[in-house]
């Protein structure tokens, strides 16, 4: 609508258009501008490629840390499942007392399974496997205690340690042990790595924001003359800034794709090294790759960074360019 001339039909509103038509044109217009911005990136490949590379490399570090955390958690949770409590019985416990304890434990609703290892059986196993076979023949008494292996129903470390506390109180139990100390340590390390990942990600995101902002700022300065002309013929700031915002979005998108590609190469490269380590531990650990949802998140974050970085630049720079004209 014209400000100076009441009733002067201006712009496309002068042409009667149906709502649907206008809706379609709105999207056609935006898609066209998005493609134009893509074309401009294509025309200035050097600076755009550099920016995309910075984005890709910067985002790779937090993504790698994230995958590391994810895989470590997978390891720790698989071990968590195997939590088992060892009850070492007092040396003078007799057979009836043992049977009594087994019955008691089996009646406990928290206990899934009880396995009794007789001290003679334990000595035989130890003699066979430890390599000290001959040495044991010189010992007269069996120094080993009877052992009961109790598998808790609830295998989480908290529930297991609660059960451990109650089993410690049993009369014939000398010592009860749940080997979760190292599990807790692993959990702590995983959470530490996760927090480091968060901090690194935050810092790198700020860096990416600034890099995109600077790239867009240079693009704006390069097009200063063009922007001046557009202002002279009546373009609003939001009209002028739109292509730059699309450029930011594209930079973010390509940066995200590059991150994904780097990550895939990295995983492929590390796969053999990790296989070597896990073989030593006889574990069937497989490296969990990036899921489709995670790729989606990555692209979303990258695109948002591109968009906001560009917004930062256009807000500051476009309104500063004033038509000098005439």
């Amino acid at each position: 609508m014209s400000i100076l001339f009441q009733g002067r039909a201006t712009g496309a509103t002068a042409v009667k258009q149906s709502l649907w038509n206008r809706f379609v044109m709105f999207w056609v217009h935006h898609i066209r501008q998005a493609l134009t911005s893509l074309g401009e990136i294509w025309l200035t490949p050097a600076s755009s490629l550099l920016t995309v590379a910075v984005l890709g490399v910067s985002l790779t570090l937090p993504v790698t840390l994230h995958l590391m955390v994810k895989n470590l958690q997978q390891v720790s949770s698989s071990i968590d499942q195997a939590a088992q409590i060892s009850l070492f019985l007092k040396a003078d416990t007799n057979e009836t007392q043992i049977a009594e304890l087994i019955a008691l434990l089996q009646a406990n609703p928290e206990v899934a399974d009880v396995q009794f290892i007789d001290k003679g059986q334990a000595l035989a196993e130890f003699t066979a496997e430890s390599g000290f076979g001959d040495a044991f023949s010189y010992i007269e008494d069996n120094p080993l205690p009877h052992v009961m292996l109790v598998s808790p129903k609830n295998t989480s470390s908290v529930a297991a340690s609660a059960l451990l506390e109650t089993l410690k109180q049993e009369r014939y139990v000398e010592l009860a042990k749940l080997d979760i100390g190292w599990l807790e340590r692993l959990d702590a390390i995983v959470s530490l790595v996760r927090q480091v990942a968060m901090a690194v990600a935050l810092l790198l995101m700020v860096a990416v924001l600034l890099v995109v902002g600077n790239t867009i700022r240079l693009m704006i300065l390069n097009k200063k003359d063009e922007i001046e002309v557009m202002k002279l013929v009546g373009a609003t700031n939001s009209y002028i800034q739109r292509p730059f915002l699309y450029t930011g979005i594209w930079l973010g998108f390509f940066g995200g794709i590059l991150t994904f590609l780097i990550e895939e190469v990295l995983l492929w490269w590390l796969k053999h090294a990790i296989a070597g380590v896990t073989q030593l531990y006889e574990s069937s650990f497989t490296l969990e790759p990036m899921s489709l949802a995670e790729l989606g998140y990555l692209l979303l974050v990258a695109i948002s960074l591109g968009f906001f970085g560009s917004l930062l630049a256009v807000r500051r720079n476009i309104s500063q360019i004033e038509a000098t004209g005439l």
Partner: protein, 227 residues
């Protein structure tokens, strides 16, 4: 249509570019604005197109006080004014069509409607055959006519021109002026800043003469007054 009321523009440092200038350009009137360089012609045009704001005094277009127009409304005001520049201000890496279409694209035109208007504007300045050319392949006079086509493509009621014949030979200047006269005849108000005195003498329109920021003459036979 265009009215200046005691308009003064002074820049920081104390330089007074315009000193209490008043005049009134009627609807459908065509006038020249003349004076030596530095006399304040450009400043006067900048006040109309809201590139600058007056220090004191008021500028009205069609009765609307421009001091009431805020920053966000400036682009919309400029859409109502066709502006032509001495150095053309064309987008050099875009075709003639794109240049002329720019004001329409900004206003949201597209498709056939836009093409029709662009072709009509280029036809008026006689450049229909150069639609697909890039501006730097055109001569100075042709570039200036592209600038004119761009200024009139959305049919503004007011046309401002700053030294439109600045670097052109007399024949081309005459062509350009004929184009302006043609627009004036269909009711567009035209204000042309020029120091080309021989051209002014031939054209015989109302002439506003500025000297050191003051309006020293407002009338038909102004040329030569400040010689």
């Amino acid at each position: 249509m265009l009215r200046f009321e005691q308009v003064t523009k002074s820049y920081s440092g104390g330089f007074v570019a315009l000193d209490r200038v008043s005049f009134h350009l009627e609807k459908g009137e065509m006038a020249f604005l003349t004076g030596h360089s530095g006399a304040g012609k450009s400043t006067l045009l900048k006040l109309i197109s809201l590139i600058e704001r007056p220090t004191t005094g008021k500028v009205f277009i069609n009765g609307v006080d421009l001091s009431r127009v805020n920053r966000g409304q400036v682009p919309y005001v400029r859409r109502d004014i066709g502006m032509i520049f001495q150095n053309h201000k064309l987008l050099m890496n875009h075709s003639v069509f794109d240049n002329v279409a720019l004001p329409l694209v900004i206003e949201g035109f597209s498709g056939k409607d836009m093409t029709k208007r662009v072709h009509a504007a280029l036809d008026k300045v006689g450049l229909l055959d150069k639609v697909r050319c890039l501006p730097h392949t055109l001569s100075g006079g042709e570039q200036q006519r592209v600038g004119i086509a761009r200024a009139v493509v959305n049919r503004p009621p007011l046309l401002l021109a700053d030294e439109p014949t600045g670097n052109l030979d007399p024949d081309l200047s005459k062509d350009i002026m004929n184009v302006f006269e043609a627009f004036n005849q269909v009711g567009v108000s035209v204000l042309i800043a020029s120091h080309d005195l021989s051209l002014l003498a031939r054209m015989r329109y109302r002439t506003l003469t500025l000297k050191n920021g003051r309006m020293i003459n407002d009338g038909l036979t102004s040329y030569g007054a400040d010689e």
